[in-house]
Subunit: 349 residues, 2 copies
């Protein structure tokens, strides 16, 4: 049997084997293992000794089948390779493990169908709770869904109010960043990764809205030539964006890059163009990643509060998993927006 654990004699140690060896019933062994009350100290010790002597380990599949608990929390993300998701996964894994559970990471590749599939009935059943950061799924698709597994949504995609939702303050962070550039003398600020049409609720649109808001508030105009749409938000895109801007002869004295990764490419391109940062061009990124303070020049960035987001997600899961376990009333769904702040370094004045 694939995956089965066998001892030297080829047999598998089951709970009943432990029970027989210890001279008790399987139920008592189960009670000991799960720390349930009603077992005498003496019996408990004998059972524990037998367990370690036989090297017994619970069969999680059987427990899952019987008890409905899986011991796993699912994290469903577009991609586990990108720093934002990798860090989210790392933080959640830590928290989930402290609660005696495992984190299972599933990647969708940013595919709408696979996102929906991942939160389908059957797949959710594999988890005690699920955290999903959708990229494409529509609120309308989610509206139909009804399930008992606690689900927390994370990110900027709109989500029906019937779900817990944790989001970063994309608009506010972008607004602060842009305001800083404007108030320190930049007049023509390029937004790398921005959207001309910012009416969809995704990351680039929300950050573009903050950029526009700041302009309106400070009485500045947005030149649509400075709104540079890009495919992906990596260094290569940032690099290309600045190169294109320069080749088009469009003047600019500030850059708001929608991610630190893109900003890395922006800095590289400006160095190639012999433009000095921040004297000729100010640059600010978004994410406040670990690398920012070691770039040349050190990159100013928006700190989105990812730790706080992860903590909040864990809190929400706690509430809901506890309620589901007790059969208690499910708490009202909540939307949390974590505030962003600026981390200013050498790339801005």
């Amino acid at each position: 049997m694939l995956g089965a654990v066998s001892r030297d004699d080829g047999s598998v140690v089951r709970m009943i084997d432990v029970a027989n060896a210890a001279g008790v019933s399987a139920m008592t062994v189960s009670n000991v293992i799960n720390g349930r009350p009603g077992v005498s100290a003496q019996t408990r010790l004998r059972v524990l000794a037998t367990i370690s002597k036989l090297g017994y380990q619970v069969n999680l599949a059987a427990r899952h089948l019987r008890a409905g608990r899986t011991g796993a929390v699912g994290l469903i993300v577009p991609d586990i390779d990108r720093p934002y998701y990798a860090q989210l996964a790392s933080r959640l894994a830590k928290g989930v493990e402290e609660r005696g559970l495992h984190l299972v990471v599933e990647r969708t590749g940013g595919d709408a169908e696979r996102e929906l599939e991942a939160i389908s009935f059957g797949r959710l059943r594999m988890y005690d709770g699920v955290v999903i950061s959708p990229l494409r799924v529509e609120a309308a698709d989610l509206d139909q869904l009804r399930f008992e597994t606690p689900v927390v949504f994370i990110g900027e995609r709109p989500v029906p109010e019937t779900f817990d939702h944790v989001m970063m303050d994309n608009v506010g962070g972008a607004r602060q960043a842009t305001r800083h550039l404007l108030t320190t003398g930049s007049r023509r600020i390029a937004i790398v990764g921005g959207r001309h049409d910012d009416h969809v609720d995704d990351m680039p649109s929300l950050r573009t809205r903050g950029y526009r808001q700041a302009h309106v508030e400070l009485g500045a105009d947005v030149d649509e030539d400075l709104v540079i749409e890009v495919e992906s938000f990596d260094p290569a895109s940032g690099f290309q964006a600045v190169k294109r801007l320069h080749e088009s002869g469009i003047a600019f004295d500030g850059v708001f890059a929608l991610t630190d990764a893109a900003a890395t490419g922006v800095l590289r391109a400006l160095a190639d163009l012999r433009l000095e940062v921040p004297r000729d061009v100010q640059v600010i990124g978004f994410d406040n990643g670990k690398e920012t303070e070691f770039l040349v020049p050190r990159l100013s960035s928006v700190e989105p509060g990812n730790d706080a987001m992860a903590d909040r997600v864990l809190e929400l899961l706690d509430h809901r998993v506890a309620a589901a376990g007790d059969g208690g009333d499910a708490p009202d769904p909540m939307t949390t927006i974590v505030t962003a702040r600026l981390a200013l370094r050498e790339s801005t004045r």
Copy 2:
């Protein structure tokens, strides 16, 4: 029941429900779902229609309990946040999903006990196959282990010959990098993250050996003052290392940083010291990460062949999982060393 899937009337759709609705037995439904032969085309269609009408999904826990297959491959790594592991996870996830399985990522935090625990009998049973990248576990501890789940080890830790093992060419890559610096005129090459005592088989020691080998081959001496041990291999460590070197007044005209992340900090520190790269100091990293070609200056690096490693891991799993499934003979364990090559850019001459 937590995690249970319920329909509007609160009931759960089981295989037997599908069977009743389609007027067949559960066994026939099972045969249809698993694509087993011996079901007439007509019956098959009727069953499939009923399945989609009732929205039935197999209960994976029950299947797992009965069949012993889990549909999951485990990846056990010290940390999922670090780019090397994140990329490994991403690549493996893709490959595993192509095979109709899931990748479950577990992090150990680099703790020896937790690494051992993760490959214990009970935990392995959760997976059809396991990939583990240990950081601390000793070969002696592994020697005792005997299990039927296919396990592939990855990384530089020594592993008993009874296991499949995929490693990158740490020594060879470091040797090439150092040779390049030496043959292009550097005489005093600092190794950031190196080890004075390189007799343990871990990443820093192996790369240090390559560094020493290159020196021996080219008749150069290693000054132990240039071997800088660091705590972690992040930008901050690289930055500190160069600062300390400079403050001690130790001359150097080349830096081999054991990771690109450390090299990022090295470049930053050299910029602070107004040392020009590569004129005054040549710098080379290791990993050939995506960011390297956008740093200022563009970083030369050792390309370790991570894609090839991931492909090889998948290949090995394929063989072993297939053998375990068929009850066929297990293939002989193999050790694969993936060759490294240099990716030269602006930071070297």
